[in-house]
């Protein structure tokens, strides 16, 4: 709660400074008159701050809080106490990506502040890496997926920091589908094993919940960035543009992003192995009575698996293709 308030406070300060200086808060006006303010300074407590930099810094604080970036990230795994469909909708697809959207939407402002863009890149890359390392050691099924969300948000943020906003937004859209699939799949598993969330007490579910197993495999492969699945088309491009930037922060984010990809693959496979492939470790009565969920749940999983496989391939040229004005 307090972490979100810190982020909100930053966002409000950013908006207030825009209002005080620009006398307007609508996007079109602010973007149109920003060139006038490029060399203007904001005085606070006898210190002069570059106006656009300070605005973008506070807007970024808002994005850090909302998108669970390093420093203000701990609320996201803690929010996994909520119901799984809520996690699938809010903590994977819609709310947490608002920070990334904020950066992309206010990109005409950010483009005037290279120093803040560097900060955005470094924070995003560090989040992508550190959230992946923390995900390696989690035993709660939903917390693993939550840290994975943190990590993927890091990829989106550093793509925006490298001025490739369309690539970041493309990953945002792709991520929404396969992460919702993973969350709903996790919910289906938890439902099957009598509300148990500890992966160490699962195992042997491959033959008992075969449909959920296949959905989780596809979701995990899309998250890993397995070639020709959805995650591959956006994550790969993010890392390519990071290296292709030929700057210090570009190479820094490429290295951390690539290592993050290794850890993502590691914890995703660990999740699948401990849940489905290892020998059963739970109570015999619970494991033996596990079964695939009702058609309402399996249908929603099936509806999500189609875009998790195909949307990257079909939307790539439209969103990040050469000549696209997206």
């Amino acid at each position: 709660m307090i972490l979100n308030r810190i982020g909100d406070f930053g966002l409000v300060l950013g908006i207030l400074i825009i209002f005080v200086e620009y006398k307007a808060v609508d996007y079109a006006t602010v973007f149109a008159i920003t060139p006038i303010f490029t060399n203007k300074f904001f005085n606070f407590l006898s210190f002069d701050f570059d106006l656009i930099s300070i605005i973008c810094f506070f807007l970024f604080i808002g994005a850090v809080g909302k998108s669970a970036q390093l420093g203000l990230h701990t609320w996201l795994p803690d929010a996994m106490e909520g119901p799984t469909p809520v996690s699938a909708l809010i903590h994977a697809a819609t709310m947490v990506t608002a920070g990334v959207f904020l950066i992309a939407r206010t990109s005409p402002l950010f483009e005037y502040t290279p120093s803040i863009l560097s900060l955005v890149t470094i924070i995003g890359a560090c989040t992508a890496f550190f959230a992946a390392t923390v995900g390696l050691l989690q035993n709660d099924l939903k917390r693993v997926i939550a840290y994975s969300t943190c990590s993927q948000l890091g990829y989106m943020v550093f793509a925006c920091g490298l001025s490739n906003y369309s690539v970041g937004v493309f990953h945002l859209v792709n991520h929404a589908f396969f992460k919702a699939l993973l969350f709903l799949g996790a919910g289906s598993i938890i439902h099957a094993v009598a509300d148990e969330q500890d992966m160490r007490k699962m195992g042997g579910l491959k033959n008992l919940v075969p449909f959920t197993y296949s959905m989780m495999i596809i979701g995990s492969l899309a998250l890993i960035g397995f070639p020709f699945l959805t995650g591959f088309y956006s994550k790969d491009v993010i890392l390519e543009v990071a290296y292709g930037k030929y700057t210090l922060e570009g190479h820094f984010s490429y290295i951390l992003g690539s290592l993050g990809a290794f850890f993502t693959a590691f914890y995703s496979t660990r999740l699948v192995y401990l849940t489905f492939l290892s020998s059963p470790n739970g109570y015999k009565s619970v494991i033996s009575s596990a079964y695939d969920s009702s058609y309402q749940i399996t249908l929603s999983l099936f509806l999500l698996v189609i875009p998790s496989v195909l949307i990257g391939f079909y939307a790539k040229d439209m969103v990040i293709g050469f000549g696209s004005d997206f």
């Binding site: 290592l259 290794f262 850890f263 693959a265 050469f322």
Partner: protein, 58 residues
């Protein structure tokens, strides 16, 4: 412009993330399939405990 530049980066840097992803998945699978004793030893070592505690802190 950056997207165009990224098309011309060295081939090894293009495929490295995919290679690392496949390596991560394979190593995880093999480690959990054959290396259970090794995993327990790592977890119970002093360094392993320190890393575990550090990564499980908020």
């Amino acid at each position: 412009m950056n997207r165009v530049d990224s098309e011309f980066i060295t081939h090894i840097f293009k495929i490295l993330p995919v290679v690392l992803s496949l390596l991560g998945a394979t190593s995880s699978f093999l480690l959990y399939l054959f290396g259970n004793k090794l995993l327990v030893q790592i977890k119970m070592s002093v360094l392993g405990k320190k890393i575990y505690n550090f990564l499980n802190k908020k």
